[in-house]
Symmetry: D3
Subunit: 237 residues, 6 copies
């Protein structure tokens, strides 16, 4: 039995609330159970210097946690003068995931920065962030089309993400903090709305896992991501 | 006429929502109109090193803004490796204001860190932060008393803060961003529930102000802070 | 009785020595008793980037203390890699105070940096710095007019500053270190030569202060600043 | 045809040269074709502070590239003051991989730091580093047993790593720089000597990949890692 | 003819003014012509951690320039977050020079930090700093003996320093800025009161120099240092 | 007797291996006994900004040690965020030494960066680095001439360096780590192929040294450098 009493293939309650930030071109407050991430998409008229003259735009992401998003207070990263390795890993992952479904030339030489700030953390913050960031990005592009800044939607398809893991020997979907900290294997999957794999990251926290276990986790992820994409569709409808 | 149509001595709509952060010992989401600040109070069992052996505790504050709290996206301070001068000025002010009404020996050798994170910024973020931080701190002390960590309430009285300014020649209360960026004089007042002055900061942005104008701003502040303290009382009732 | 035997409204012995730095366009060694600050004004032909094309110039200030200006040696700020919050607060205050009396377009697109380096610290370093910085800035503008770089004096009027405080229940003028470290309330006033207020900063170090006390401190400050402005006039005569 | 004329499932020439650093407790110069990484294992008698009193040791890794390991000179990371996100990601991966096959209590409260310095980079530096680091760590443990610092070998089994990718539509093993920079999908696999998965990281650089492609890459990796483990066995024989 | 009209073996006017900093245990304002350095010696009761238990003390030095010590304003090093290579080179040199004539065990487990702050720079700041630092250190030790903190004088002998150089083909003593910036060879000598060499640093700025030239510079330095030591003796008499 | 049994004027075995780095324009692995330094010369088409428009090029150097080059592991400098004072001193010395024999206008407005990375450290790393860096720079210029980027060789002559010291009262050549850490006086000499002095640095580690001792060290250095230059000639033949 999972600590949360959920079935092995059951997501937490997921909500995607749009237009939560008054000044951002697109925004979404995403909740996976008690995990809450505020995603804002900001348009900057200048693209990154290394794309100057290419006609292409860029989508990048930043990620941070409020100090008391966590069970114990965490020091602000500004105090140590730089983002931690974990933060950098996550923000690179979010950026890659969004770019995988974006037609960059359709943006023109502009940059969209999607900020994912974790207000409350109960496991799965990076996967919630990707799932909510897609909605914020979608709304930013809608805003741009509404003002004729771009003419076609640069988004080619949906992208969403979910964590899976092996907890007490059993593959389970969408780990919360209690499961995550005890899991033997931890995996994150990023997939498109049509089932393509964008990113697979599986890590043995204790003993190694087998090919069979990897496939079971992948099957759980496919089911979970299908539900997340359905919720994204509902949200933007 | 003020841009917001408010009377010169009229506050924006102020709300103080408690218990908004699941893991913090005390928390408050404060809104002054479109300005929204999430305040969390975190208990740490170890006080600062320079108070070791003194029997006294400490209350400190940290302040930050989400990148897209503002009309234009602001760079994260972690990117430049250190909090800006403005951030440091504000977090020192919040900490001093809270300590002015706290009986530090009653906390024991512990530290409370109050994090004030601006989710949305429309002027007056530091005064909203002080007003909400008091509620979060109050609830943290209640939590500690509930668990018999401390026996008496370390808070001696209320503290709240408000900005005033001279806008187009007229003294007005609680400036929003539109007024703030055009004000000739900008002043922040921090006062206790019994009307004592904790901090007065007045700055001529353009031409110098007179003693008479200072007194008019002080009168407006006294009225505003009385209302804020009444709202704090309601919130914790 | 004050530790220094001074009357409550009595300044320390104040001196303003000009042309003390061979290479600077303007300079002043200011002493308020044992507090000594070396102020130099440096002309840079390039203004800050954000004023390019505006036709306006800029005046900015930097502040630092020699490590053994103080009773105990203080670590150099370069060792911790950044100016402290206190340093930044002070240098922003000095800069604002000087700009409040400067006609920025009259400088042209240039920048004057006024460096205030505390050689010896016995309380009131920031107010001594502002008072001396005005003289250094005045001499820098004289130097520029002498070379026909500018045609009119960009200084509209004098500016000077003084600290006041409530020490053992009594409002007193121009606190030295012994008084400052024991004061219940600490206030700094920046005023122009014609009595306009540029900056008022009052802080309760212990119990809150009343409106009446604020007015008493203001009265003391007006008297002190009138004397400082008279000394500035003498110095530049 | 691959740029290097290799078969799709063919490794580059791999060498593992031991005892290349005179002062290190264990060392290995690993080459995967033109990629060369110097791995040294250093014993430190003090474990990390957070393991004090636990009876357990720790294995950690650091990774860097010489500035001219690459086709174009790369700036030293010390110049920007911090390791890049990529560097941190890689050194965390190497450390996790080594710990996955190490019996940490058997080390006692000590730390082994494995430094992986890339002398020449032609793709696959992180997988070469893991493969060579295992040999350096093995020799460090042998050195410790030779001096009776520990009594049993803390290594439970071999660990090695290889990159795979989809290049011009074809899954291939052990990408060099030419292939890596053009691959549509890039994957790194870390596996033990008995075929357990320690880490799977697959990233779509261009279009998403399918479950079938993931399985093909995994099959290639299994073959490659079996050969690398055989070479490790030969090297330490 | 030298730009300053001095003879080739002629020092600038040198003064050593003691007790110039009210709070320091020892201090000296040293002038070599227009070069002025404020040297303060500060006693700290705790020695450096790596000497704990050794019974030995330590003498260290720090060096900095005020921003407008120079002809053109120089940026504060705190702005770039770290002391420059030049600053570090100089402060290491001053520290080594002072320790070369100090009996470290006679200090006990304490540290003396000598701060050398350049108020005005016209060439030769590091050699002036060493010469003045010796006087400040001497007075700090006298202060300590006066309070019976130590019983014998830890200073074994005098140490002083001078620069020499080859200017327009001629070896000259004590270069000012005008000569220094045009010299073909630049050399600094640190010597004891009894003529022992503590440090020799000769650098060809343009074409290499010969052994004969090195000896000529050394001869000039010996003469200059003898005069500096005589001035130190006078100063402390 | 020296710890290494060498005669007082005997170099360690010195080797200079060229073309060791596949991608660098010039490279040399230099060994002075167990000290091994990898030197690479990298051409960058853009010179430093302060030479823009001057028609002159620049040669600069960077220096670092692998963490386990040393007997005990040394922390990476990137961890503390900046190169140490020692590192900066050494890389400035290498750069000055190379520029002393380079005709900078003959390079055109380009920059050559010579990276000297110590793979193994047994004393004399900076002098080995200079000696090997010259070979790497020579080969970089040959590469440039081979591609007609420049038409004449910018190198005017050879430059090499050696350390000497007074060990147990005896002047000796080319100190290894065992001698270096016990030497009373330590000196580094940089000389050209025709015997000109480029840099002389002598430091008393314990008691001061005499003029006679300086001359003995210089004589040893001349002999050693003549041999090093002969080896450089052989290497590039």
């Amino acid at each position: 039995m999972r600590p949360s009493k959920r079935a092995n293939d059951e997501l937490r309650s997921v909500t995607l609330e749009r237009a939560v930030a008054r000044y951002a071109e697109g925004s979404c407050l995403v909740s996976f159970g008690e995990t809450k991430v505020l995603c804002t998409a900001s348009l900057e008229e200048r693209g990154p210097p290394w794309l100057r003259g290419s006609g292409k735009g860029w989508v990048t992401a930043e990620y941070a946690m409020l100090p008391r998003a966590t069970h114990e207070r965490t020091r602000r990263e500004v105090t140590s003068g730089k983002p931690s390795g974990r933060t950098q890993e996550i923000q690179r992952l979010i950026g890659r995931s969004l770019r995988a479904v974006t037609n960059l030339p359709a943006i023109g030489e502009r940059q969209i920065t999607v900020d994912c700030d974790v207000l409350q953390a109960d496991g799965g913050t990076r996967t919630a962030a990707i799932t909510g960031a897609w909605v914020a990005l979608h709304d930013c592009f809608a805003w741009m089309r509404g003002r004729s800044i771009i003419s076609v939607d640069p988004l080619r398809e949906h992208v969403a993400a979910i964590s899976c893991g092996i907890h007490k020997g059993t593959p389970v979907l969408d780990l919360d903090y209690a499961e995550d900290s005890a899991a033997e294997t931890d995996a994150n999957f990023v997939m498109t709305g049509t089932g393509g794999l964008v990113e697979v990251q599986g890590t043995a926290e204790g003993k190694p896992f087998s090919e069979g276990e990897l496939l079971e986790l992948l099957a759980l992820a496919k089911g979970g991501i299908a539900q997340l994409v359905a919720l994204q569709k509902q949200a933007i409808a």
